[in-house]
């Protein structure tokens, strides 16, 4: 050894787990790839364009508030990419692209940056973006097209100048299984829900892929099983009670699980690390709350779907749960 060699003096520990924040974020992105593939398979190019523009909106605003706009330094951690993809997956395939871009800007800008950036936000950014779009463009966000695999062409409604909504030249729209359930009392069969052959947002049609993604994320310890399992159990038990009372009026628990955005919300949004409680007990309370709100809104609310509001409502409770629900330290009596 050369005597002059410089050694660094720091304090222990000197080893570190391989999981870093960007690594965790990109694991989530990887788990979304099959779901994005399914979105392309069912809804074609328009779906990809919606995803691209919502991600672009997220990247744009994230970079705008970094030190240097062109450096790309702030988007490297992968969190803006996730927000953009998740927001895109909650939108219908024929959604106007400029609205998707605007949604991305609101998602990161209002959902994350004004709170102080990554780790400081109270609400899930993707859902903030979607809540904004739902309020601002209620017609566009509920105009569903059937899965028709338009692999190489946009839908007419995709292309509109900013602040205009293009005409629906295709003329075909469809209802989602949830709105059929709510307004016509028609229940889709579970195979269609499970494998994705229904109308709906990009990421709410193919139940099985979400189950697989969830298993992958739990196995890689990116998310904990607590929150998804608790939401699913709550929804099954709570909606199951009504289904047993009157199966003609109320949907079955399986229908509840695989219709709408429940799987997307349960696996990817309710488990958002930043906006869910940090203690195990807090996470149970949070997840059960989400499950109850989902069933309440779906069965009795004015809207067909309630996952978004259910998660946002419980996001709001998270800071309080973090303060109130503590872990019992080692060596203390209960």
């Amino acid at each position: 050894m050369s005597e002059e060699k410089k050694l660094t003096v720091s304090t222990s520990p000197f080893l570190h787990d391989k999981a870093t924040t960007p690594w965790i974020m990109y694991q989530v992105v990887f788990s979304l790839i099959p779901i994005i593939g399914a979105a392309y398979y069912f809804f074609g190019l328009g779906a990809m364009a919606v995803l691209f523009f919502s991600v672009a909106g997220c990247f744009f605003i994230e970079q705008l508030f970094s030190k240097s706009f062109f450096s790309g330094d702030k988007i490297k951690d992968g969190s803006a990419l996730i927000t953009g993809l998740l927001l895109g997956l909650t939108l219908p395939p024929g959604f106007p692209l400029w609205m998707a871009f605007l949604g991305g800007i609101v998602a990161i800008g209002m959902g994350k940056l004004i709170w102080g950036g990554l780790g400081m936000n109270v609400f899930n950014p993707a859902l903030v973006g979607r809540a904004f779009l739902q309020a601002a463009f209620p017609t566009a966000i509920t105009t569903w097209s059937p899965p028709d695999g338009r692999y190489f062409s946009f839908r007419g409604t995709n292309i509109g100048y900013p602040f205009f909504q293009a005409d629906n030249v295709d003329g075909i729209t469809t209802a989602t299984p949830l709105s059929k359930m709510k307004f016509d009392h028609v229940f889709a069969n579970w195979q269609d829900l499970f494998f994705g052959n229904t109308g709906g947002s990009l990421g709410e049609t193919c139940g099985i892929l979400f189950l697989l993604a969830g298993i992958y994320l739990i196995a890689r310890k990116i998310i904990h099983w607590r929150i998804p399992v608790a939401i699913i159990l709550t929804v099954v038990i709570f909606s199951g009670i009504f289904w047993l009372i009157d199966p003609a009026k109320y949907p079955s628990p399986v229908f509840m699980l695989f219709s709408g955005g429940l799987m997307l919300g349960t696996i990817f949004m309710a488990t958002d690390l930043v906006t869910s409680p940090i203690t195990p007990k807090g996470a149970w309370i949070y997840a059960i709350g989400i499950g109850i709100f989902i069933v309440l809104i779906r069965l009795w609310g004015g809207l067909p779907e309630g996952v978004m509001y259910a998660i946002l409502l419980m996001n709001a409770a998270t800071p309080l749960l973090n303060i109130l629900v503590k872990v019992k330290p080692f060596g203390y009596k209960k």
Partner: protein, 448 residues
């Protein structure tokens, strides 16, 4: 054998034990000069008994215990005292040290002064004898062994637990002790049991040391003592006192209390072997097994090093360090202390010299906390490091105290798992010392 016993939480860092776990213990050749700090143990530094120019013998007492929480110090070589002066200690402080120049013509045979047979001693004499032998806990903290063995009035010791976990990655010195000196270990247990009369004696060993488990299991069977070898799950920090008790008898040591409050006594396994060496051969604590390891060491090894030997000589015996060396540590990578040079002596608490490359100690980019909860899942004390880290950042020390920061024993699991690279345990060390200082000052005020 049941190897699933463990505590909850904790982490699984890569072990790196293969570098040195099968290396037989070698003896360090004698060097020219020995630096012996007077404070090699927790508690008051020893009082020197020699002066500059004195001739000393190997094994001769050169400093006496200075109070109850203090132990004696012995010369590791035949030689001459060349001075008593300040020298740098592995903990970074300058401490009074006795410098001995080795006699180049000596055979360096031990000059034993064998204590009287332990069977003829009472507990008080035994405690005094252990203190006189300079025996401390060899796990790393160097807490005087006799203090641990003194059972206060009204307390009982139902379980003796011998800690052979060695859960820190890289380190293998306890492992080699158990494999190569099992008779010393069993004999030490017999001596300790003669005085403490525990109901049950457990030897806790992590399941990654099957050879040590088998050897001690065989010896325990034939010993006639109530000894049981308990294989424990490989997990860090399994060797922490409270975690090992929790794994073996499923009890929690109450916060702020000692293991004896739940009738348990935990001691490092190598310290037990040292007791046997004292009572049988009259050899006080003058040397220990040091693991020299790390990917930046040419030839990792386990070496029996006399105290006071400069680290540089020990590392050179192992072929020196490669050019990729980036960090020199004393102890393991999770709790060890970083050193700025090798010009410091091996002391009683030196369990290993670990030299890491820059690949292994990557500087992490730091992100803000994403509240992933990994630190909560890792903390063996069930604290909330995420919350404590935020309080530390804001300097809210009092709130840290109400959130039980003083229960943190700085194992470093939280920093290990934090994906955002936040120096959690590092900030807790600062917080704890500020709180302790503040509390001490308050006490002073109350007195006045």
């Amino acid at each position: 054998m049941n190897s699933t016993l463990t505590f909850r939480h904790g982490i699984h860092p890569e072990e790196y034990k293969e570098l040195s776990e099968h290396c037989r213990v070698e003896r360090m050749p004698f060097v020219e000069e020995y630096i012996l700090p007077l404070a090699q143990h927790l508690g008051a530094p020893s009082k020197p008994l020699v002066q500059k120019g004195n001739k000393v013998k190997r094994g001769q007492k050169i400093a006496a215990a200075n109070g109850f929480v203090s132990v004696a110090l012995h010369s590791p070589v035949d030689g001459t005292v060349t001075g008593i002066s300040l020298a740098e200690n592995p903990n970074g402080q300058m401490v009074q040290s006795i410098i001995i120049k080795a006699d180049p013509f000596s055979t360096q045979q031990l000059t034993p002064s064998i204590p009287k047979s332990y069977e003829e001693m009472n507990v008080k004499e035994f405690i005094a004898s252990v203190q006189d032998a300079g025996i401390v806990g060899l796990g790393g903290a160097a807490f005087p062994a006799h203090v641990k063995f003194s059972i206060p009035e009204g307390k009982t010791c139902r379980y003796i637990m011998l800690n052979g976990c060695e859960c820190e990655p890289f380190l293998t010195s306890d492992h080699r002790t158990m494999v190569e000196y099992p008779d010393d270990v069993m004999d030490g247990i017999r001596i300790l049991q003669h005085f403490l009369k525990a109901e049950k004696i457990f030897i806790g060993i992590e399941a990654n040391k099957p050879d040590a488990i088998n050897i001690l299991h065989e010896k325990a069977k034939n010993s006639g003592l109530p000894v049981e070898v308990i294989p424990l799950k490989v997990k860090y920090p399994q060797g922490a006192e409270k975690m090992m008790i929790n794994a073996i008898i499923a009890k929690e040591v109450p916060s702020g209390k000692l293991p004896l409050d739940i009738e348990a006594l935990v001691t490092n396994i190598s310290s037990i072997a040292a007791i046997s060496q004292w009572f049988r051969k009259g050899q006080p604590l003058i040397e220990r097994i040091v693991t020299v390891t790390g990917t930046a060491v040419k030839r990792p090894a386990n070496i029996l090093v006399p105290f006071g030997t400069p680290m540089r000589d020990v590392v050179e015996l192992c072929g020196g360090i490669t050019s990729e060396a980036a960090r020199i540590l004393l102890g393991g990578p999770m709790m060890g202390m970083v050193q700025k040079s090798l010009d410091i002596p091996v002391v009683k608490g030196t369990s290993g010299i670990l030299i890491l490359t820059s690949d292994e100690v990557k500087d992490l980019s730091q992100y803000t906390c994403i509240r992933c909860g990994r630190c909560l899942e890792a903390c063996p004390m069930y604290l909330n490091p995420s919350l404590l880290g935020m309080l530390a950042k804001k300097g809210l020390w009092e709130e840290m105290e109400t959130n039980h920061i003083l229960d943190c024993f700085e194992c470093g699991c939280c920093s290990y798992v934090c994906p955002s690279g936040i120096p959690l345990v590092q900030s807790f060390r600062v917080g704890k010392s500020i709180i302790r200082e503040h509390n001490a000052r308050e006490k002073e005020k109350e007195k006045v």
